[in-house]
């Protein structure tokens, strides 16, 4: 019967739409609730510090090593292309601008999502599965204030620092390869970089980007954990969703932010 098949397909579309709108509404209410608990995260500073330790300090190694290698590879590849145009003193400019504007915030955000975001989701999801969150509610402790808000704000505070460290180590790696290994003049490496990188346009915009990515990743991580189905499978699905959703939102947000920040500058 074709009519019933059409009706079934339409019902499926309707169900999917209602579910996603419901989820969106729940996510919005959840974000507002987390923001309302911002003062309590600051009041219980020790909890937030603990989360900065887990999401920030423990991500240091991967961020620093990746930054160093990204910078060194950029220097090698950039030198290879720039030297064809006789512009190899511009290596510092190339590396600094690509790291500060794009690669620092984006790659640090992606690493942060997979290193810290997935851990946050798994932890909160497991707390929900083992009914620790319900137990807190029974004891009149709000899990949003006690568990979610410190993780959220710890992530927001860690992310810009990690992105800045990534860019710094990247520039240091490019210095090692460009100046020490290849032998570009150190003066023109730093001098051209300083002439081309603008504090307001490049560095402040890069920091704004990393803060936005920090908010996005932390929010997705705590939301997915809090919203996970309380089964072993549900926690694993939620962890996967965190990594996929935060990576995609980082890349999409990066495009939108770049359009607004850097449009028209190079006209």
């Amino acid at each position: 019967m074709p009519a019933s098949t059409v009706a079934m397909a339409l019902r499926r579309v309707g169900h999917a739409t209602i579910t996603s709108v419901e989820r969106l509404g729940f996510a919005a209410r959840f974000s507002v609730a987390v923001l309302v608990h911002a003062p309590s995260a600051l009041r219980r500073l020790q909890l937030t510090l603990r989360e900065i330790y887990f999401s920030g300090v423990l991500s240091l190694v991967i961020i620093l090593v990746s930054g160093l290698f990204v910078g060194m590879v950029l220097a090698l590849q950039g030198y290879d292309v720039l030297t064809r145009y006789g512009a190899n003193e511009s290596l510092g400019v190339l590396v600094a601008l690509s790291l500060v504007r794009e690669l620092g915030p984006v790659v640090a955000g992606l690493l942060f999502a997979s290193r810290a975001g997935s851990a946050i989701t798994a932890e909160i999801g497991l707390m929900k599965t083992t009914e620790q969150l319900s137990a807190m509610e029974m004891m009149a402790v709000d899990p949003l204030a006690r568990v979610v808000a410190p993780r959220f704000f710890g992530g927001i505070l860690s992310m810009p620092l990690l992105a800045a460290l990534f860019s710094t180590l990247g520039i240091f790696g490019a210095y090692l390869v460009g100046v020490r290994l290849i032998g570009i003049d150190a003066g023109s490496f730093w001098g051209n970089m300083q002439a081309a990188v603008d504090f307001r346009y490049d560095i402040v915009n890069g920091i704004i980007k990393s803060v936005v990515f920090g908010v996005a990743v932390s929010l997705i991580a705590v939301f997915e954990g809090y919203n996970a189905r309380p089964t072993a499978e549900g926690v694993s699905t939620a962890t996967t969703r965190t990594v996929v959703a935060s990576s995609l939102s980082i890349l999409a947000l990066d495009f939108v932010l770049t359009v607004f920040m850097f449009r028209g500058l190079g006209v």
């Binding site: 300090v57 620092l161 520039i171 504090f199 346009y201 500058l265």
Partner: protein
Amino acid sequence: MNRSTLDLWVGIFVTIGIAAILFLSLKVGNLLTVSNDQGYRLEAEFDNIGGLKLRAPVKAAGVVVGRVESIKLDPQSYQALVTMKIDRGYEFSKDTIASILTSGLLGEVYIGLDTGGDTKMLADGGKITKTQSAIVLEKLIGQFLFDKAASGGGASGASGGGAPLPAATGGGK
């Protein structure tokens, strides 16, 4: 984890993170020497700005003294109206010549300021009247070919293209 150890690690993390931001601002972005907010504006009209871009440097004697802030087309005169932001502390006389130059063959396009002998100085919003446009390579080649055709006349096939022009200035009549 011991509380004081945790505090120590977070303290180390935050300190080196802030140090990284400071490094980016001071060493990479050169925040201290170039202060963008301090400065005054000068205007200049050019027949052709060539490849001049926003935020291109403005140089006097090779020293960067400001940046190009806006480029517009004047609807009356059909000339390009360029606004420059000059760092406070640098003053230029009223008969300053602004020319659009290129550093090297493939280098960036910038505005060069050559100060004159006038004792009166340009103030905020002042206009540089003496300007020299960008050299457009296509126009230059076109002019050269035109001159060559005009001076070569009928004897173009005799000595090939390598002969110097007899009167380059009078070639266009």
